[in-house]
Amino acid sequence: MKTPTARIAPLHLSRTLHSSFHANLRVPRASVVSKWLRSRNLTTAPALAQEAVPLRKHLKDEAKRKKAEAKINGVAKKLKTDPRLEKWELAVGIEIHAELNTECKLFSSGPTEGSDGVANSRVAFFDAALPGTQPQFQVATLLPALRAAIALGCEVQRKSGWDRKHYFHWDQPNGYQITQYYEPFAKNGTLTLSASDGVPTSDLNGADSIGIGIKQIQMEQDTAKTTHHPPSTYHIDLNRAGHPLIEVITLPHIHSPQTAAAVVRKIQAILRSVDACVTGMELGGLRADVNVSIRERGTEGTGSSYSGVSGLGQRTEIKNLSSFKAVEDAIVAERDRQIAVLEAEGVIEGETRGWTLGATETTRLRGKEGEVDYRYMPDADLPPLVVGSDLVDHLRVTMPELPDETVDRVERQYGVTLKDAKTMVDLDDGDRLEFLEETVELVLRRSGDQATDQLRVGKLVGNWILHELGGLLATTETSWATMTITPVEVADVLVNLQNKQITARVAKQLLSTLNDTSTSPRPSVDHLIDEGNLRLRPLSDEGYEVLAMQIMDESPDMVAAVREKGQKGKIMWFVGQMVRRGEEGTVEPENAREVLERLLSD
């Protein structure tokens, strides 16, 4: 049993009189009365002055305490891993496989969508590898591929080839995959990332942004989908066999797990914005493989090099990561494993490893196959791919805005914060941003001859569309696509609000009413305001004072709290009460607050 720190516990602490298995505290022999009191968990000591702590305050204090603890622990944790990272440097290269947004498969006219998800219903003769069938390049698949290459800053090669990668597997009916091993169609691109994309400051090295080199982009076929039925049966669905993929290979310019996740996120966003790859990671439309190696800082590792980047250590590959978090966690686990092996004087083997969600370490899948085992060979059935420069120029000129440009423009033109701008651009496939822009123009037009500042209007509209409308959609469980409110209506409401014809509370109400109304016939906003008698009839100063005095009389302790204890926050409670009590559309919070402050400071 533990030796107690105090032999005699002070009597006024009631807690010490409770028996606990740790305590071996000696207390002076107690009298019968006090023993009896003890047995009933009562003490003879005066009760501690316990103030009733309000719940909000209690929760706030708890949150503050947890934050302080986390800060202390966080600092301690950082100190723990820092020494290892000071000695070892990480290098990561990523290979992303993304499904192209096309109508047909890559080498056959089998459709990529439709048929309601019935298995084995979108299979052409070549996809099923019937003997004698030949591949036929579907030219429409070139459009999203070229857009992806241009968006990632690559040089499109005029001539590229198709090669066979041979291996036998039940998800590969032909016995080989048609890919572009020797001559990919795009090379030498760059991806720019900054701190707002999630790159840690240690990677930025004082610069605003870093550039990750993209070695090449190639087109290839996807395999069929297999489902495992234990113990050893597999069910094959050939719908996905032959679907066009692009493989984006980056150079090992990535030096931290957070940057790696940021790279994958950024590439997904860019591909989605140019309509090249629209199914995300969570739906299985984008998969990432990472190559991880470490080296001691200041050394050349094992002297390995990859495509012009030299001085790297031996790399291992982690396959089939299917979420951003998995990418980050897997890299951290693999880096820690490699550090442990090298610090124990071991040697890293070049192998292929796997990662499952919630695991702490990667698992070995197989040894690294030599590339000669795939027997890459040019496909004799397919002519080389020749891309015209007029097409590339046309696509470059008509390229839609990339996410970075859009966020920048929204910030600049509409005064929206960076965080809000990023959210807006991602929402609803860009439709919400479209709504914002239309509404802002309408508001500016209807504001008449008053000199209106686009930034101020933009900020107001942005706030309402993102937060208020968003909140309304969430509470009524409507989706954006089924929402019936039009930009004209929102513009009307906000113009009225701007001109102080209605209060913000009334505006919210109007939006809610409009959302509930069916599509036709739709009453105009002005009609609704007049009908509901919602127009602001501003209260006179006298009226404010009368109302304020009324409320102050009803709750003297709150008045005392503000006057004597100086709790200024309570004034807002008064404002709230005034708004609630006053007639709809008469009390303005700003004026109410002014009046209250005047009255309460007497």
């Binding site: 048929s115 979108r122 052409a124 030219v139 094959i236």
Partner: protein, 206 residues
């Protein structure tokens, strides 16, 4: 035709290579007169065709190592043989006798391959298939605006202020496919199936 004569000349040039003397390994084509030179011509420059064709100048038997001849290539291990068989999805040998026969066959095949590899192909692009490699042929095969017109028409521009390109999606599934003429049931080719899926047994022997 040009390529063929280059090959022949290359073969011919090999007959007096130092490799031949050093190891005692006989070049495949060193059986008779070297092709390309020493063809007998009379004073007018004519060739006696009957005489030329009366004796074979080359036999395919020269591609196979003679009995008891030492080959230069290192022996193939049993492990390598098994690896190659696995890569080719061929069954492993039943017993040691079959394995020995496989190794012997493979070794003589490699002898032939080595002969082919002796040919000097510097500056010669591999022929992938017979296609029109002229400038006109390439222009015809080029995918430019004209070729992509149909695909570009399948896209819409969405939005007036925030313009985005979106591919128009087809809603029909089964009916559209029937129109394309590829209306068939893939599962009719299945050896084993369950519902709408092909079934594969993935055990160690399968």
């Amino acid at each position: 035709m040009q390529r063929y004569s280059v090959l022949l000349r290359a073969f011919a040039a090999q007959t007096s290579s130092p490799v031949q003397q050093a190891s005692g390994y006989r070049r495949a084509f060193a059986t008779g007169a070297r092709l390309g030179d020493e063809v007998q011509r009379d004073s007018d420059g004519h060739i006696d065709v009957e005489k030329l064709l009366s004796e074979p100048a080359w036999s395919v038997g020269s591609l196979i190592p003679a009995e008891g001849q030492q080959t230069e290539s290192p022996a193939i291990s049993s492990r390598q043989l098994h690896h190659l068989l696995r890569l080719s999805a061929l069954p492993l040998p039943k017993d040691a006798q079959e394995e020995a026969m496989m190794l012997k066959t493979l070794s003589s095949q490699l002898h032939f391959v080595k002969d082919i590899q002796q040919v000097d192909t510097t500056g010669v692009e591999p022929l992938r298939s017979l296609r029109d490699e002229t400038a006109e042929g390439e222009k015809e095969a080029e995918l430019g605006m004209a070729a992509m017109k149909g695909a570009l028409e399948q896209e819409d521009v969405r939005g007036k202020y925030h313009r985005r390109i979106r591919r128009r999606r087809r809603s029909g599934g089964m009916e559209e496919k029937a129109q394309e003429g590829e209306h068939w049931d893939p599962l009719s080719t299945a050896g084993k199936k369950v519902g709408r899926f092909f079934v594969v047994e993935g055990g160690k022997d399968g």
